[in-house]
């Protein structure tokens, strides 16, 4: 019997769980279905195209653009792993000072909408860029414009690696340090031990993060647009804004097909057959002594933080003080309500997503039934669909299915859940896989019901995953634009819709304050959230 075969006998170890398991599977499947159904409206749109659909979908240009998108996805995903994993290791395992600070810093780029970042980068570089102007006194004459495929890849990497960072962190926090110690005494150096022991165990976490990065990249419109790379979403967007909704829907379905492929790839490396890495003796987080390398290594988060956060803040702040390009007139005063609204919906979305994701994630971690796997994967469709496409689908869906909810807060929150719940599922599933089942069994023999055991044992143990999931949903909701624009109740403005409005109006300087508020608020909430995570983060080996 192979290890894989053996593991299939693991699920439902507490013997009476099969019935409940089936129930939970059905619940998970139902939730997943609810999340995916709105996308069904895309099919309705496509039907309008009739026979042309095939031609359009397979035209050479369509395929060429698709290929470019896939290439971008590959580059950005690889880049995010290369940045995110080392940063996670650094902030979890290394003996660096002010860990919390570096953690928040490293996660913070997620709070900045990547299109703002792209905008700042484009504005800052090039012959007349803000950066050049600022550095001219120092004799810097030109900085090459960062744009095109490289630029888009760079910017997307800088703003999406936190997905990998956060999910990897959650895995590392639940890692049993004695395994690495065992490897070290078997003469593996740090790197080898990392490669052969740590990596295989955090791989589900890394894969979960990489998946989010890949799908984000696939679905992002703003960044490639600003960077002038024609990617598939832009292709879709152009058709949508050209009143070709059916064509856009068709292309969106194609995009979802690509998503399915990515999901399939992820489940190969991810948790599917190599999961259940529970090991009983958890000796807490391992500590790596960096010695003299300690400070040089901190340059990595510093550099990434500086590009990702400081650059846009500085660019926008410069515009704020100098008036910046655009109209001198026009007021469009900033109101703190926008900030409050952002926080409020983001909070609701995070809570709702956690509630929805929990059964799906638990079921997928505990069972290897096809249905559970499908329930786990299907919601990614919502995440991979470009925001605008999803928004359109949701408009049709809600107008047809629940007109009373159209343009209400509940629908908006539902949209966020549809869009972002996979982020929560991924990280929660990863930590659920790491919970040693005998702990739950111990709770049961101590008289706790299944639910009681879940509440008092499983829940606290998967807390890092829940927290990470909630944080991801929270942060991404804070910066979500397309669905917010289309589905928000009239008169309901958030930081991002305000930023969008002033940017669109060319009042770039005015974006500075809300952008700053967005980053600060996200940073603070992140700090609060990550503070909860540290329960298992004892520096036992200090």
């Amino acid at each position: 019997m192979s290890v894989g075969d053996r593991l299939t006998s693991l699920p439902d170890r507490v013997a009476d769980d099969t019935a409940v398991g089936t129930g939970l599977t059905l619940l998970a499947a139902a939730l997943a279905a609810a999340l995916v159904v709105p996308l069904g409206w895309l099919f309705v749109d496509v039907l309008g195209l009739g026979g042309r659909a095939i031609d359009l979908a397979t035209s050479a240009t369509t395929l060429a653009v698709l290929a470019r998108s896939v290439a971008l996805v590959a580059v950005v995903t690889a880049g995010s792993v290369l940045v995110g994993v080392p940063l996670a290791v650094l902030t979890v395992q290394a003996d660096i000072p002010f860990k919390r600070f570096w953690t928040v810093l490293a996660a913070l780029p997620l709070a900045v909408p990547s299109y703002l970042g792209a905008f700042a980068v484009v504005s800052a570089t090039g012959q007349d860029g803000v950066l050049v102007n600022a550095l001219r006194p120092l004799g810097v004459e030109t900085i090459p414009t960062i744009d095109g495929f490289t630029g888009a890849a760079l910017v997307l990497t800088v703003y999406t690696y936190p997905y990998v960072f956060l999910t990897t962190r959650a895995s590392l926090l639940s890692l049993d340090a004695s395994l690495v110690e065992a490897a070290r005494t078997l003469n593996s150096g740090r790197w080898e031990a990392f490669r052969r022991v740590t990596l295989p165990q955090i791989l589900p976490g890394v894969a979960a993060g990489a998946l989010l990065v890949a799908l984000y990249t696939l679905s992002d419109f703003g960044t490639p647009n600003i960077m002038h790379v024609e990617v598939f979403t832009q292709f879709i967007y152009a058709r949508y804004t050209g009143f070709m909704r059916d064509y856009a829907a068709l292309l969106s379905l194609q995009l979802l097909a690509v998503t399915a492929v990515i999901l399939a790839v992820e489940s190969r490396i991810g948790a599917d057959d190599s999961g259940a890495y529970a090991s009983s003796g958890n000796r807490g987080a391992l500590s790596i002594r960096l010695g003299r390398l300690r400070y040089p290594l901190l340059l990595l988060p510093l550099l990434v933080g500086a590009t990702a956060i400081l650059l846009p803040v500085v660019v926008f702040a410069l515009w704020l003080t100098s008036g910046g390009p655009g109209y001198a007139g026009g007021s469009m005063a900033f109101s703190w309500t926008y900030g409050w609204n952002s926080l409020y919906v983001a909070f609701l979305a995070a809570v709702a997503s956690v509630l929805v994701a929990l059964p799906i994630a638990l079921r997928s971690a505990a069972s290897d039934s096809r249905l559970a796997a499908l329930a786990d994967r299907a919601p990614y469709a919502g995440y991979a669909a470009p925001g605008i496409v999803l928004a359109i689908a949701l408009v049709s869906f809600s107008l047809d299915a629940a007109p009373a909810f159209y343009k209400t807060l509940p629908l908006l929150v539902f949209a966020y859940v549809v869009r972002f719940v996979p982020q929560a599922i991924g990280s929660m599933r990863t930590s659920a896989l790491q919970v040693d089942r005998t702990l739950v069994e111990a709770a049961r023999t101590l008289g706790r019901s299944r639910f009681g055991a879940f509440r008092s044992v499983t829940l606290p143990l998967i807390a890092p995953g829940i927290v990470t999931g909630a944080a991801l949903v929270f942060l991404t909701t804070m910066k979500e634009l397309p669905a917010t624009l289309i589905l928000r109740p009239l008169g309901f403005d958030t930081l991002v819709t305000y930023i969008w409005r002033v940017e669109e109006a060319g009042l770039y300087g005015r974006a500075a304050l809300p952008a700053l508020v967005l980053v600060v608020v996200s940073g603070l909430s992140m700090a609060v959230i990550l503070a909860q995570e540290d329960t298992g983060d004892g520096d036992t080996n200090e």
Binding site: A238, F243, M244, Y327, L399, L490, A505
Partner: protein
């Protein structure tokens, strides 16, 4: 201080002086007082209005809505802003589902208005509402009315070129010897696509494709938007480009000494004048309020606001465009139904085929 007031029906309503509605800057100084109907002469706005307003210029226009709410304490607007085309498609769907959310749609381009009109999701505006606006800037059946215009233009650098160097038709651009690698454009920008659509409608698909190819082969430079195109022209990085007229004015207003001026082609797509306009959404319970609101948008103060703050072409004869812009009737726009600009599919296909993806 200085209230024009007095005529108002309600003592509590005070209309601010004209300067409040005007922008500031070099090119605004010394304008004559606008003609047309003053807000003072219009009934007061009151009640609540749901407004869909397109992004982009709409962000600036919305400032005027805020001013109206300041003037009329009983008047409240709930807005939702998104891309005009996306709002247009939403409106059609909402109306089809019998759940319209907004009373009035203020789009920043005519194609979105045309899309709603073509899909019968409007209620006609009152005759008195559309009456001051030239008929070319109205929809059939009073479906919509333009409130601010913008013209395609050719910003050029006055240090590098004379006005006479700029060809009179866009057709000549690829073959103008002094232009290789120098024409700036922003093909992803909506107004540019409208321009190509217009060319397609006027000259047919093949010549349009050929023109795009010729431009590309002649080294036209891509920029993210037309504001950047105008900036680059002012900087002298490129001597000439294609852009909506107000971007150059924006640059000028900030940098009065910039060697930047505008040329206009005549009678072809390059001279297209597109409009932002308002439309009454079918099923609104507030038909009269919408009419009155749109009349406010066409008031002297509003038109002065649009002209001087966003440098748009005013839609009523009594108000001059800003600076030394030719007036609307001095322009020679092509003869084209603005609503037809919403048919972008073929345009995009042509652009793609020409290697100039939009």
């Amino acid at each position: 201080q200085g209230l024009i007031g007095g005529n108002s029906d309600d003592e509590s309503v005070t209309i601010p002086e004209l300067a409040t509605f005007r922008g500031s800057g070099a090119i605004i100084e010394g304008r004559p007082a606008p003609g047309g109907t003053s807000i003072e002469d219009l009934p007061d706005l009151s009640g609540e209005l749901n407004l869909y307003i397109g992004g982009g210029e709409g962000g600036i226009y919305y400032r005027f809505v805020e001013m109206l709410q300041e003037i009329y304490p009983d008047f409240t607007v709930y807005e939702s802003s998104a891309a005009s085309s996306s709002l247009a498609q939403n409106i059609v769907e909402e109306v089809e589902s019998g759940a319209p959310q907004a009373d009035v749609f203020w789009s920043i381009d005519a194609s979105s208005l045309g899309y709603v009109a073509d899909n019968d999701a409007y209620d006609p505006l009152g005759d008195t509402v559309v009456e001051p606006v030239p008929s070319g800037f109205q929809g059939d059946d009073n479906a919509w009315v333009g409130v601010a215009g913008r013209a395609r233009s050719v910003p050029y650098n006055t240090d590098q070129l004379d006005e006479s160097d700029v060809p009179a038709t866009v057709r000549e651009f690829p073959t103008t010897a002094s232009f290789p690698n120098t024409v700036g454009w922003a093909p992803t920008y909506g107004a540019f696509k409208s321009f190509v659509t217009a060319m397609r409608l006027l000259r047919g698909p093949d010549p349009t494709r050929d023109w795009l190819v010729a431009m590309r082969e002649n080294g036209a430079q891509r920029f993210p938007d037309e504001f950047v195109v105008s900036q680059r022209v002012a900087d002298g990085t490129i001597p000439v480009g294609f852009a909506n007229h107000y971007y150059a004015l924006r640059v000028k207003n900030q940098r009065p000494d910039a060697p930047l001026d505008l040329a206009f082609t005549s009678g072809d797509a390059g001279a297209l004048v597109n409009v932002a306009g308002a439309l009454k959404i079918q099923g609104t319970q507030k038909s009269d309020l919408v009419d009155l609101f749109v009349r406010h948008l066409l008031s002297a103060e509003a038109q002065e606001f649009f002209a001087t703050v966003s440098f748009a072409y005013p839609m009523i004869p009594g108000v001059e465009p800003v600076g030394d812009l030719p007036t609307i009737d001095e322009l020679s726009p092509p003869d084209i139904d603005l609503s037809a600009l919403s048919n972008l599919e073929e345009t995009l296909e042509i652009m793609r085929e020409a290697g100039v993806p939009g």
